[in-house]
Symmetry: C2
């Protein structure tokens, strides 16, 4: 496979430069006209570490690589802008396979309004995707970091939790059912509209749930210098999670809290803005209040009886 | 090695956010205040494809990864801004090794004024570095693409050619001499100041020489829709290149034209601006006129007798 020939085939399929993108793929660099502030994030997926070609199609791998990167922009409340993709191509992936991967990336770009603006191709011992995404805002302070949560804020999550973990269990069991949960694992989608709505509604801190609620809540608590009290009974468990967990002998709360890869958003919102935020996000997956921000530090997830979830013996802060 | 512990050690070493960088590594995304136009480029280096740990130190590998990425910004005439690094870490690279790699990246960042603003760490079967760099300008049209060369323009290159190829030959021979040429191969530096000076002096098209003068000249010619006539006798051959080529039974011109990795700049400049451009770049490696832009298409490199270099039998357009 010639790099230049593949590049030519890829370029044919890329969108024409748009309003922000002035020079796209094919020059030394892409030229853009950014917002007055940009948010930039990088994510890498490596075969055998983050995915297996046995259980994911190439289109799914491409779509997940871009979706996961854009999820970080969702957590900033950013307007999605450009994506740049490094593709490390192993000897057993042919040109059509590369274009199938690209098809997955294009699919998510089209869904989200992101522009694939450039990249690099290289040979590699293992299939590797490194995606850089750039999001825009009118002012730097329009972005929501992890650091602004204040005692008294409400703590909310978008959508449902535990679905990606349940999907992974189903894949490992080679189950034929549970397609929606498997899709949560293989085809996550970034909560970009929810993130922007939460930012506009006044969210003080936000993070996307890639590592799992327990660990990501701790990142937000540490960055903000606050504690988080979470009510386990309030967690919005994914539809079907309980059955999958029970069949596998696992606790559904463990999967919802420690599983990771749900790519939902965890946000702190001043209590007096919660109603407006809830209304703003209702069409974008909805939000659920799961707790509150307090003084001090640390994350406590309590069961209905008042017992700490950590006391159940699985690591809530993985 | 824990990812979070290594990240913490890396963050301790990163510079504080500066004038453009408002939020650095550690949040979901880095927040910057860009120029009114940005140029963004991505480059990947993979062990066994682009480097070998046997012949490069980890610091050299890190420094080359950032330098090669910044070379694309040099070719745009951009002010270097932020760098984002994906590090794919194999099992046999420990935390100190990762920090040594980072040291090489920091070294080039400090030399060039670029800010290491974020990145991602992942396990990987082979050591992999993917670097995204963002450069800035006051207006999109301040960037110099490959596409603006016009018939009648002078064609110039910065610095010297063939040094990186000679260095590679010396490495393959495990020679003890020729440290300056070996450094051209292992520790290239981007011609950022020359690129900005050439842009300000009115360069109409520019490209960095990563593939080799022959191939990169063809890219520029195709993008601009022009032909390039190059005088082989005018090429600024690297000091020591002739001796290394002779010892290896190779033609020095072949190394200068086909070898690649010199990371010099090839630029087209209106003839009436050549003197000012030459003066502007004299302190940044200098430029040499090597030919002229014509109508038509294609690249011709002619020997003093008028014979085409291509007739000598090696591929001038690799």
């Amino acid at each position: 496979m010639g790099e230049f020939e593949l590049l030519a085939r890829i370029r044919e399929r890329l969108p024409e430069p748009g309003s922000r993108l002035r020079v796209g793929s094919g020059d030394d660099a892409a030229v853009t006209v950014p917002g007055a502030a940009t948010a930039t994030s990088v994510d890498a997926l490596v075969e055998g570490v983050h995915f297996r070609r046995r259980s994911s199609s190439l289109e799914q791998i491409g779509s997940k690589a871009l979706a996961v990167a854009l999820s970080d922009l969702a957590a900033m409340g950013a307007e999605p802008g450009e994506a740049y993709v490094v593709l490390g191509i192993p000897a057993d992936l042919d040109e059509d396979g590369c274009l199938e991967l690209l098809g997955g990336i294009e699919k998510v770009a089209a869904e989200t309004g992101a522009s694939l603006a450039g990249g690099d191709l290289t040979r590699s011992p293992s299939l590797t995707l490194a995606v850089t995404v750039v999001g825009h805002a009118e002012r730097p302070e329009d972005f929501v970091t992890r650091a602004g949560a204040r005692p008294g804020d409400a703590l909310v999550v978008t959508g449902e939790l535990g679905g990606a973990s349940a999907g992974l269990l189903l894949l490992e069991q080679e189950a034929k059912s549970g397609a929606a949960l498997v899709a949560r694992q293989l085809e996550p989608r970034p909560r970009l509209q929810a993130g922007r709505s939460l930012a506009e509604a006044g969210a003080t801190a936000m993070i996307d749930l890639s590592d799992g609620l327990g660990g990501d809540a701790r990142h937000l608590a540490e960055a903000s210098g606050v504690s988080l009290q979470i009510d386990a009974a309030a967690l919005p468990l994914a539809t079907g999670l309980a059955e999958v967990a029970r069949a596998a002998g696992r606790d559904p709360l463990e999967l919802a809290v420690s599983g990771g890869e749900d790519y939902e958003l965890l946000a702190a919102i001043p209590a007096d803005k919660l109603a407006a935020a809830t209304a703003a996000v209702v069409e974008h997956g909805g939000i659920t209040q799961i707790g509150a921000v307090g003084a001090g530090k640390g994350v406590e997830i309590r069961l209905p009886g008042g017992e700490l979830l950590a006391a159940k013996g699985f690591d809530q802060l993985s």
